[in-house]
Amino acid sequence: MSDNRDKEQGLGNESSAGAGGGAGAGLGVGTGTVASTHQRRTPAPPAGRLIDSPPFPAAAARLIGNQTLRANMRHATHTIRAKRAKVAAELPNWEQLRQAGAQIKDRLGRHLDYYLEQLEANLIANGAQVHWAADADEANRIIIELVKAQDVDEVVKIKSMVTQEIEMNEALEAAGIAAWETDLAELIVQLGHDRPSNILVPAIHRNRDEVREIFLREMKLYGKPAPEDLDNEPAHLAAAARAHLREKFLRAKVAISGANFCVADTGTLVIVESEGNGRMCLTLPDVLISVTGIEKLVPTVEDLEVMLQLLPRSSTGERMNPYTSMWTGVTPGDGPQEVHVVLLDNGRSRVLADPEGRAALRCIRCAACMHSCPVYERVGGHAYGSVYPGPIGAILSPQLRGINDAVDKSLPFASTLCGACAEVCPVKIPIPDILVHLRHRIVEEVKRKHLGLERFLMGVAGWAMARGRRFGRLGKLAGVARRLTGREYLRRLPGPAHNWTRARDLRMPPKQSFRSWWKKEHG
């Protein structure tokens, strides 16, 4: 049994060990005015909002000390990295595929208005109803209205990044509607009163012992209990989830999904998955509501041949994921007879407006960048304080949310710029370039607002370096400082400069400068 279970996972939010009622006190979600006096229907997530997370360095410093988390993350990222490399290398035209993937998404992005109108027209022609949501609140309002119109108080869900982005589950909860996660990892996260730490394997930070403990403790509170003799074998844990969720699938009248791809020229939506929970949600209920970011389109059906090769190999490292579902509006007599699509902007048009940053919208949410990232591997997804963690999160979240909060200002710096992410990205997003571009934007903003110590110091350095004699004298002076303190490293700079030494030790200047040495030896 892991001793660290509740310590660090939730970024300072104690995971509420007891589930059920009352755990939601203090949750401000969606509109930020949710009173949580009612009995909760679903397990409460950690309190607080992601946007209020501490800046990356503070969160990372805490999480890096969690040994369980680091061991889990190291195992997971290394395993999946190796699988991806193997199946990507199998295809001789992998680089051409990546190029095509990037070009397809660029064509889409550069003519997004055209393709959105085409998609809408085709969806309507095929019997689907289309809704447009400018932001999270608007999307949640539309979804809640649609669910309430069915006179139900629960929905089943396919794992979807965009519903996390708009914090839909908590908005539904506040409206008295229970949203049940049906992906195994999302179920672990939901029952664990936790937040996802990876977009592909949301419970990547949990090991099998922790999962067993969560299932035994929580399943019985929300439906079919886990078998009492449940052990930590992944196959048995998956079987417990199958039994727990089958009941919910058969009962559900409404399902909510995202979409991996929306084909503009036919009005077809595509969901890529592994477990079959997606097929259950897309097939059994009477009503299907799919929420999708406006960047998730592809122009034509034929473009799927590129995307459906790139995505599974880049994400789970398989030649193909077990199940891919495509549906084109309503199919009479087969599946949901009422189909809705909610097209969500929520900052995407803002990302599109920056020609140097817009390539982030090519992202197909495969998570290859995370799995290749040495920083993500060590701190895990929770450190990023954003639904999209890792390298893509560091460029996408600040752009989507608008670089106003402390966490978003810190994210573009949460990278060593090593470039591993750009090497693996299936749609060739130049992540390091965009990181540097965003850093520049943030620094320019700071410079505009504050005169600043940095600017002063740079001025001094410029003055000193402009003349050889000045520089030589300064070198000598520095040597004196070393001899006086007798220390090899300076661990803390004084005043505001201590920010620089917070994360590094500064080597003291040498006892004699190069100039003095040269003079002595050759002079």
């Binding site: 889990n72 070009q103 397809i104 064509r107 550069r110 997004l112 208005d113 959105l116 109108e117 809704h131 447009w132 400018a134 309002r141 990892a185 672990i188 394997v201 949301p202 419970a203 990547i204 090991n207 099998r208 992944p234 844990l237 998956a238 079987a239 199958r242 058969l250 036919t266 592994s274 477990e275 079959g276 929970n277 097929r279 259950m280 897309l282 097939t283 406006i294 034929e302 799927l304 590129v306 459906l308 090769q309 789970t316 030649r319 193909m320 077990p322 199940y323 891919t324 579902s325 495509m326 549906w327 084109t328 199919t331 087969d334 902007d345 048009s349 803002r350 599109l352 407006a353 817009r358």
Partner: protein, 220 residues
Amino acid sequence: MAETTGKERILAAVRAALSDVTVDDPVLDSPIDWQYGQATAVEQVLALFIERVEDYKAVVLSAATAAEIPQLIADCLQQAQATTVVVPPGLEPAWTTTAELDGLRILRDDPPLDKLELDGVSAVITAAAVGMAETGTIALDHRADQGRRIISLLPDTHICIIRRDQICTDVPQATARLAAAIRDKQPITWISGPSATSDIELSRVEGVHGPRNLYVLIAP
């Protein structure tokens, strides 16, 4: 709330963001260097298909003649310990004759069966639309010989019969073959092995919600 305003606002924001794009035709503005619909260089298509499907822990059987199919289906059903079987309305009736003789209950999904009824059915037999060798994938386009999506989902065993000429090299060729069905508004399901998850410590577990046993029967 007038929904048109939401649409207009979003489209206006998108258009404003794209003021640097001056060529209106997407194809002229953004070329894509890709030859669509090409067969990939695969030497032994059938052998590769079998190898890749088996790689997902599915069982693959081959019928030398059409006459062998009913017996092979009955063998699969017996191995899976199936007692009830659902078949789509358009499935070849001869295929289930041996299973019927074995005393299995065969339910035709016509009129459509209720979901609770289907939840208690142990197996399903369907035809297929397209096979992909490189990825070991079967695609259903849910026409009459494959039936509604729900029937190939709830039973724990899926027996899928695919003809040799339906098996192509890879995803591009398959997408080209399926495009007509998609444009006909048919739902499409791609199946690559049995239901699986790697959500716990990334160790692969076959069988979560979809059928836990997949038999692929290759017909002449």
